[in-house]
Amino acid sequence: MGKPTSKRRIVISGLGVIAPNGIGKEQFWDALKEGRSGIKPVRRFGTTGFKCHMAGEIDSEFNPAEFLGSKGLRNLERTSRLLCSAAKMAIDDAGLTINDKNTDDIGVCTGTTLSSLWNIAEFDKEAIQDGPLFTNVALFPGTVMNAASSQVSIRFGIQGFNTTISTGYSSSIDALKYAMDFLRMRRIKTVLVGGVESLSLVNYSGFYRLGYSAGINGEELSCPFDRRRNGIILSEGAAVIVIEDEESALERGARIYAEVNGIGNCFDAFRMGKYQPDARGLKKSIKEALRTTDIGVSDIDYINASANSVYEQDRLETKAIKDVFGRYAYNIPVSSIKSMIGETFSAGGLFQIASSIGSMYNGYIPPTINYEVRDSECDLDYVANCSRITRINNVLINNHGPGGSNAAFILSKWN
């Protein structure tokens, strides 16, 4: 396979973010630039008996009625509230009007994996407590994985395709790839690509019991690439971008943030919960992302890392970058926003994209905060603790995890 010759250009024209450290793109970008963390003690459920107590929780400042009105909120579970609110922001930001004429040309594609767990747990709890004849029927629609994505289509009257991608850590970028394929095949003109996860005691305890949470074997801190790293701080939130083909964006006079450029993914499952020891899948994804663009390795100005403060994850990502970029790896700034927002799992990739748009738009690289103790195996330029003012034309965004799913994506300045 050679490089694509007559590629349709795809651009980003809208953005909505609800992150632990900021609601709305401006707040989010400001927080990242200032190195402000959204990680704090969990308030939504008790953590007594756990060795960890922190999370990247969306606090009570988030009021979905501000974005969606109060009607119909009663039965909208937390994940759908987060995603629909971010979608509303993105639609408004893109200046997109959805009507009978264009509704079939707009699709929705969402990355999410754990978000229905809370509803499933609540539904089951009632079935056990009150008996299966007296369950709360209102909880049932929210027990399915595609509930939140579907609610976006229902609420905003979108009649094009609606798909949910649940590939764990790489869900967001996999969702973006799926949406890009639809656009390139001319089966759709515009797609709302989203990523969402919500916190619940069930998923908090799942990561904890598997030993992935920071604080079990060390300091409870999200400190990617730092030698003290010992696990994730679990988080929640939603981010949605509006992508469309360049022609249609120009036709409607939309403001264009950036070009959706190369993308690649690879599944390299090794053993249950163990990383592929050579980061084969991540390397293959990065190479594929580069191959599908016209740019070379030296054109990458910044890498927005997947590193989440898990010992192996950060080490392997560093190795993958060095193996792909060779000596040039030492010239590329690499930072992890997960030091500030924690691990949002399936939504991670979309937050990285939202952050990278801000980097490109406002000319800065967000820092890796909490970086103090150097690890000899992690020896790249991690933009420690303070953001860096610089011009950015191309960003590489990585997603990988112990489940075997890997993805990489290149966001480029649009000219």
Binding site: G72, R74, N75, D130, L133, F134, T135, N136
Partner: protein, 80 residues
């Protein structure tokens, strides 16, 4: 008619269909006057069943179209 039961039911239905209690008259038709969709209708039935620990037979469900008919149904079941 037991007004306590009526008030309890009005509160329950008003919350599900998201209308103020004072606007929920006994005669207002759920479907034609109050825009109740099928999911909300199922929710009303389920909430009623849960509250009074009864199961409403399928054949009875279409006959209940307003608050008054729900209250009448409780009388039929001897709910005080």
């Amino acid at each position: 008619m037991n007004s306590n039961v009526e008030n309890e039911l009005r509160k329950m239905v008003a919350e599900i269909i998201e209308v103020p209690e004072e606007k929920l008259s006994v005669e207002a038709d759920f479907f034609n006057d109050l825009n109740v969709d099928s999911l909300k209708a199922i929710e009303i039935v389920a909430a009623f069943e849960k509250k009074y620990r009864v199961v409403i037979p399928e054949k009875d469900i279409p006959t209940i179209r307003n608050l008054g008919q729900i209250v009448a149904y409780t009388k039929k079941l001897n709910i005080q």
